[in-house]
């Protein structure tokens, strides 16, 4: 079951600055909390989120325990060729996430 939402326009003119919005469903467990029996809850946060566009990395965020649960990201990139926008991330339990969108660039 997909655990993320991605919003990006599917068409752009060459050189246009395109906004990207990403929301990931993740508990972002800080490692500072304890359960009802007093045992420490293992830290599990998303370590990084990276965005590749037409084969090269255009944006990257390194996350830590200070980021809220279900993090939301908004950033921009310059669309200069048609291609696949690919967002990937990985958490402390090595679980990987991936969400894609295709952008057609005209002009």
């Amino acid at each position: 079951m997909a655990n993320a939402r991605l919003s990006v326009q599917d068409k752009a003119t060459r050189g246009e600055v395109v906004p990207v919005r990403l929301a990931i469903l993740h508990a972002m467990e800080t490692g500072f909390r304890r359960d009802i029996d007093g045992r420490a809850i293992t830290r599990n946060v998303i370590r990084f989120v990276a965005c590749r566009y037409a084969g090269r990395e255009v944006w990257r965020a390194d996350l830590s325990s200070g980021i809220s649960a279900n993090p939301y990201f908004e950033f921009f990139f310059r669309a200069d060729m048609s291609g696949e926008l690919e967002l990937t991330w990985e958490d402390d339990s090595m679980e990987k996430g991936l969400i894609r969108a295709r952008i057609e660039v005209a002009g």
Binding site: M1, A2, N3, A4, R5, S7, R21, A23, I24, L25, A27, S68, A69, N70, Y72
Partner: protein, 255 residues
């Protein structure tokens, strides 16, 4: 003493039954800070939409021994579920019970999909409930209390007006008589459930109306009823009737 009290309640019950909705009706979001309201209105950034998206996928996923999905019977939820949430909780003649949305989803799960019921407050049940409720966003609540619902409704109204817990407060003391006033950093709301299931920052996830009601029980230091208990269902029905005419804003966002 008890008889006098019952008589008084009976007299008040007839006279004030219709006066038991605050005027003007204000949705829960109106008592939230502007940033929270903006977040709720944003169909993408609203964090509860993560669960709505999951519900959308579950809607078409086959489940149980019947290998049936919700969509196999109901088709596209955008059409078939439009306005459905405005009529819940309702009386289901086939099962002879009062059901909220969660209850109806689990009846379908057991009887149509031949699958075990989804656990209360589990992510799949919250996701499906949010997905179904979202189809009625902006539509006014329209719960009609008929003879089949009367007993549950009366139980709900009784609970709403009954003092409980170490703080000895009834729902009405905050949400009927003192809404709009400040309680530490919060403004006391009118206590409508029209935004639920809602994402609550305190929970860091989406939660059902029953979870919110349990939080109120906890707040007045009363014993919390179990999820799916008759008490919580009766309260849900009374609250829905009390909010009749108020637009559904599920999935809401709350502090």
């Amino acid at each position: 003493m008890l008889r006098v009290w019952l008589l008084l309640l009976g007299a008040a019950g007839c006279g004030c039954a219709l006066a038991q909705a605050p005027l003007p009706l204000k949705a829960g979001s109106e008592f939230q800070p502007p940033a929270i309201r903006t977040l709720q209105a944003d169909e993408f950034a609203n964090p509860a939409m993560l669960w709505v998206s999951q519900g959308e996928q579950l809607w078409t996923a086959p489940r149980g021994a019947a290998k049936k999905s919700c969509a196999d019977c109901h088709g596209a939820a955008e059409k078939s579920m439009k306005g459905v949430a405005t009529r819940y909780p309702r009386f289901a003649p086939q099962s002879g019970r009062v059901l909220n949305l969660e209850g109806q989803i689990n009846i379908c799960s057991v009887e149509r999909q031949l699958a075990p019921p989804l656990e209360y407050e589990s992510d799949p049940l919250l996701a499906l409930t949010a997905w179904v409720a979202h189809q009625s966003r902006g539509m006014p609540l329209a719960v009609h209390i008929d003879d089949d619902l009367r007993a549950t409704f009366d139980a709900g109204r009784r609970l709403y007006n009954q003092r409980m817990g170490q703080l000895n407060l009834a729902c009405r003391h905050c949400h009927q008589l003192n809404w709009g006033k400040q309680l530490l950093t919060d403004t006391v709301s009118q206590g409508h459930g029209s935004g639920y299931p809602a994402y609550r920052f305190e929970w860091q996830k989406i939660g059902s109306l029953q979870r919110r009601l349990r939080a109120c029980y906890f707040g007045v230091r009363a014993e919390m009823p179990e999820y799916g208990s008759p008490d919580l269902l009766a309260l849900e029905l009374y609250l829905a009737w009390r909010a009749n005419g108020l637009a559904i804003e599920a999935p809401g966002v709350r502090k």
